[in-house]
């Protein structure tokens, strides 16, 4: 069973205690953007076999949204971090690069 530590209340929560919220760090398309931009925002999700940054809510706990970096090929968790961030923090990035040295986040690449 997938275990994620909630970065707010510190609980090591089982997945039944959590609600998955899909890809993290999405940038909302807005007025004046192209159809492609809206398609990207609404439908084109990262679907890597490997590192995935995603949103979770500690639904049956403190109720807060947080973010997690996880390996979709192995279910390994690289770290969790608060949702009020625009990119993964250094310690999480370090954990990811220990396994995937060439990994770079799409927004910083």
């Amino acid at each position: 069973m997938l275990l994620l530590q909630c970065p707010y209340c510190g609980v090591n929560a089982e997945e039944t205690e959590l609600a998955a919220g899909g890809e993290a760090h999405l940038k909302r398309a807005t007025v004046g953007d192209s159809d492609e931009a809206f398609e990207g925002y609404l439908f084109m999700r990262e679907n890597k076999k490997g590192v995935h940054l995603e949103r979770w809510r500690h639904a049956y706990g403190c109720g807060k949204w947080f973010l997690a970096a996880r390996d979709t090929a192995t279910l390994e968790v690289f770290g969790t971090y608060p949702a009020q961030t625009t990119e993964p923090p250094a310690d999480v990035t370090e954990n990811i690069r220990a396994k995937y040295p060439d990994w770079s986040w799409k927004e910083t690449a």
Partner: protein
């Protein structure tokens, strides 16, 4: 290829079964093919088969990283139905069902198609209205389905408890022509027929890269070397995003794990397929007597081919309420497969931004039932560049908002 028949069985019976030949060849790849299909599951093999049968294109390789039919083709719950709400879905799924009806004869391979009937239970007022609407839509589409009352349902499925405390059975959507088939046999039958037409089914051959020149596909790089092709069909279900990335484009797909389980074999007790979407479980009885149970998908992206443990409990809990006798059963096996989910829960059969590459994916949790129709339509698309069955399933429909929204109609169990 020697045909299978009662005479073949008699002949082999008289000589200790020493004369059976291998059902398909396992050749080394040639340098170049007219068409390469990536993925030797049901959909990929069916695509190749109808390319040969309907369009005479037989210089085809079907390459597979694992073993034949070892992905979702061998991991589904073998349910076949075509009672969809939207017209484009009904067209392709009903094409598949009609092809299934004669598939054993067509392939000279017994796929054990069993049109035993299929019922989708309505357990909320919302579902009652939804399925009655689907019955109406199906009548307009020429797909025979009917509404059955709880009393009629109890006669069809004696083991059902229609007075469940939380979700009483309020009726059902019944498709008499629906049923099951032996899923491995579908892959094996198509593979045998493809091999017989001179196509190469190449297993243990993983695609490592897609080679393009000037926006056009020229071939693939694999663990068995480079292979050239004029056209490339990607039919790899859960790994579609991985393959599309090699070719340099993206698809509106997320991969998640879906799981199923089977019980110990018991005597015949249920001769229809029953799906209960509200409580999240569906069940049929296999020819061996095992109760085949399908559960829910995980809520997060996942490539591990094993589902979350708690879904088993949720599925079985729901079924125990609807089928009380299940509570005495022991479960034998559980497994998972990676399904490719699109935003509108309908498949993608489409040309792609790379010339010569075609994609058939997004069947999500309900691909097995579509195999012959999907292959038929995909072959037409690859051979002629367009198909009336696939035009609505274009990958660019999301940009235009032209969804084929089955998620509202089918709920979870697809």
């Amino acid at each position: 290829m020697r045909r299978y028949s009662v005479f073949a069985v008699a002949r082999e019976g008289l000589r200790y079964h020493t004369g059976w030949e291998r059902a398909w060849r396992s050749p080394q790849p040639k340098k170049k093919y007219d068409v390469i299909i990536v993925g030797a599951g049901g959909h990929g093999l069916a695509t190749a088969y109808y390319l040969g049968k309907n369009y005479g294109i037989t210089n085809v390789a079907i390459i597979e990283k694992g073993w034949l039919g070892g992905g979702n083709t061998g991991r589904n719950t073998t349910i076949i139905r075509s009672n969809y709400l939207q017209d484009p879905s009904a067209a392709i799924y009903d094409k598949a069902l009609k092809l299934y009806e004669n598939l054993s004869q067509d392939l000279n391979y017994n796929v054990m198609f069993s049109p035993r009937g299929l019922i989708m239970l309505a357990q909320t007022h919302h579902e009652v209205r939804g399925y009655q609407r689907t019955v109406m839509a199906n009548q307009l589409q020429g797909v025979a389905t009917e509404w059955v009352t709880p009393e009629q349902l109890k006669k069809l499925v004696p083991i059902i408890n229609i007075h469940g405390p939380r979700y009483p059975v309020m009726g059902g959507l019944y498709q008499k022509r629906g049923g099951t088939a032996r899923h491995d046999a579908v892959a094996w039958g198509y593979a045998r027929a493809c091999s017989d037409m001179g196509m190469d089914v190449i297993q243990q051959c993983e695609v490592k890269g897609v080679r393009t020149e000037g926006g056009k596909v020229v071939g693939v790089s694999t663990t068995k070397g480079d292979i050239d092709c004029d056209k490339l069909g990607m039919v790899v279900a859960g790994h579609t995003s991985v393959l599309a990335e090699m070719a340099g484009f993206r698809l509106p797909i997320e991969s998640v794990a879906l799981q199923a389980l089977v019980s110990e074999p018991i005597k015949p007790c249920m001769d229809v397929v029953v799906m209960a979407n509200t409580v999240h479980g569906y069940m049929s009885q296999s020819d061996k007597g095992e109760m085949v149970i399908g559960g829910g998908t995980d809520s997060f992206n996942n490539y591990t081919q094993r589902g979350s443990f708690h879904h088993i409990e949720e599925t079985v809990r729901a079924l125990v309420e609807t089928f009380p006798m299940v509570s005495r059963l022991k479960m034998l096996r559980q497994w998972g497969g990676i399904v490719d989910m699109t935003g509108d829960r309908s498949p993608i059969l489409s040309k792609t931004p790379v010339e010569g590459i075609f994609v058939n994916c997004g069947w999500g949790t309900g691909g097995f039932k579509a195999i012959p129709g999907s292959g038929w339509a995909m072959a037409e698309l690859m051979a002629k560049g367009h198909s009336p069955l696939t035009q609505e399933f274009d990958m660019f429909r999301f940009r235009e908002g032209k969804f084929i929204d089955e998620s509202v109609a089918a709920g979870v169990a697809h």
